[in-house]
């Protein structure tokens, strides 16, 4: 039918893997907002959830690194990491290859996605799913935007990807939820792990809530690396949701730096208003 829910959330492995080391009050407030998002997705009647994530060398390596990839499998495995390390048991996640194929085919009219009939999900998708579909009973379509190995896709193309995904969601008869998941400023898995620049994060989130295309596309990779760390490249997954919901406003449900989770933990939704799509007119 259409896009029925859009939002963003964090996915750092510490969120589940180092849960007991976080300050309980702030951690539980974060978890509560993730649970609120689970209810919002359920209430939307979504029949499938597209997760726009930044994976971390689970499926994609520099021997064939797509800028954008989408899953087209019957089902998926996850997590690829040690379940004890991540704090999430290994499981099978349902896919929907027919729906995937229809969405991918439409996205391909303007954005050149790779497709994958297999996918081992890492924390980038498993952490969100652990909170958003804890019974693994909703069809998932995984999406990856390469945020790890340069050359990286430019933010202008990320915006176009969001727009293409919206066009595809609105073209299928099913109700579709989309969640973008990635970090804002962070230096994950480095000696600086836990360093978070709250001002940088809040500035980005201000632009995101306002859905200010000019501000969102003005970030350069050079500045992001310098000011927000390697993890900052993952803003691509969040900016994709801005393109998906072009013209609409966001609502920030939660933001707090939680150093042992290595990132400023974020939960937010975006309004859904009709999309003016120039492709349809072409």
């Amino acid at each position: 039918m259409a896009l029925v829910f859009a939002g963003i959330c964090s996915h750092a492995p510490g969120i589940t893997g180092r849960a007991e080391r976080a300050e309980p009050t702030i951690r539980d407030a974060f978890y509560a907002e993730l649970d609120r998002m689970r209810r919002a997705i359920e209430d939307s009647g979504a029949e499938a959830l597209v997760v726009v994530a930044a994976e971390h060398f689970a499926n994609f390596f520099m021997n064939n690194m797509p800028a954008y990839a989408m899953g087209m499998g019957e089902d998926y495995e996850g997590p690829i990491e040690d379940p004890d390390w991540l704090g999430i048991p290994r499981t099978t996640i349902p896919g929907n290859p027919d729906l995937s194929k229809r969405i991918i085919t439409e996205v391909m009219q303007s954005v050149d996605v790779a497709y994958a009939q297999e996918w081992k999900m890492d924390h980038g998708i498993m952490v969100p799913l652990h909170f958003l579909t804890p019974k693994y009973d909703l069809d998932i379509i995984p999406v990856n935007i390469n945020c790890q190995g340069p050359p990286l896709t430019p933010l202008s193309r990320v915006w176009e990807f969001g727009r293409a995904l919206r066009r595809a969601c609105d073209a299928v008869p099913e109700k579709i939820a989309v969640v973008g998941t990635g970090g804002i400023s962070h230096w994950p898995a480095t000696p600086n792990s836990g360093k978070i620049v709250e001002d940088w994060d809040r500035d980005y989130l201000d632009a995101w809530v306002a859905n200010d295309k000019d501000r969102l596309l003005a970030y350069s990779d050079e500045d992001t690396l310098k000011d927000a760390g390697q993890g900052g490249f993952e803003i691509r997954t969040l900016t994709a949701i801005s393109g998906l919901c072009e013209g609409a406003r966001g609502d920030l449900w939660f933001y707090a730096p939680i150093p042992i989770f290595s990132v400023g933990c974020t939960v937010a939704s975006m309004d859904i208003i009709p999309h003016v799509n120039d492709m349809a007119a072409e």
Partner: protein, 106 residues
């Protein structure tokens, strides 16, 4: 530094139980499958996370190797800090340390 092949070996190690077995039973055979320098082979054999880090291995790949060879999270972070202390700043890749590698949550 043939960073590409060091990372490729670790990428495969992280995701393939057959590679994990070979690492444990015949590491020389495993190392022989990749174009690696003698230094790189010795870092991989000896679990030298500090050298691998400062030579540019992406942390998203390196942290799973560290866990695989038995490092707890704090040990992994410390091994990178020790690498920086001993050898100086990261030479390659995008996972450079900032603030001299100080701070962070362990």
């Amino acid at each position: 530094m043939s960073l590409y092949y060091v990372q490729k070996l670790l990428y495969n190690l992280n995701r393939d139980t057959a590679v994990q077995s070979l690492f444990r039973t015949d590491i020389d055979a495993l190392l022989g499958q990749y174009k690696l320098t003698d230094d790189e082979k010795s870092w991989l054999k000896n679990g030298d996370v500090g050298e691998l880090y400062i030579h540019g291995v992406n942390g998203q790949i390196l942290m799973h190797y560290a866990a695989f060879i038995g490092h707890e999270w704090d040990e992994y972070i410390q091994a990178m800090k020790d690498g920086l202390e001993k050898h100086g700043q990261v030479r390659d890749g995008i996972y450079r340390a900032v603030d001299g590698g100080a701070g962070g949550a362990v």
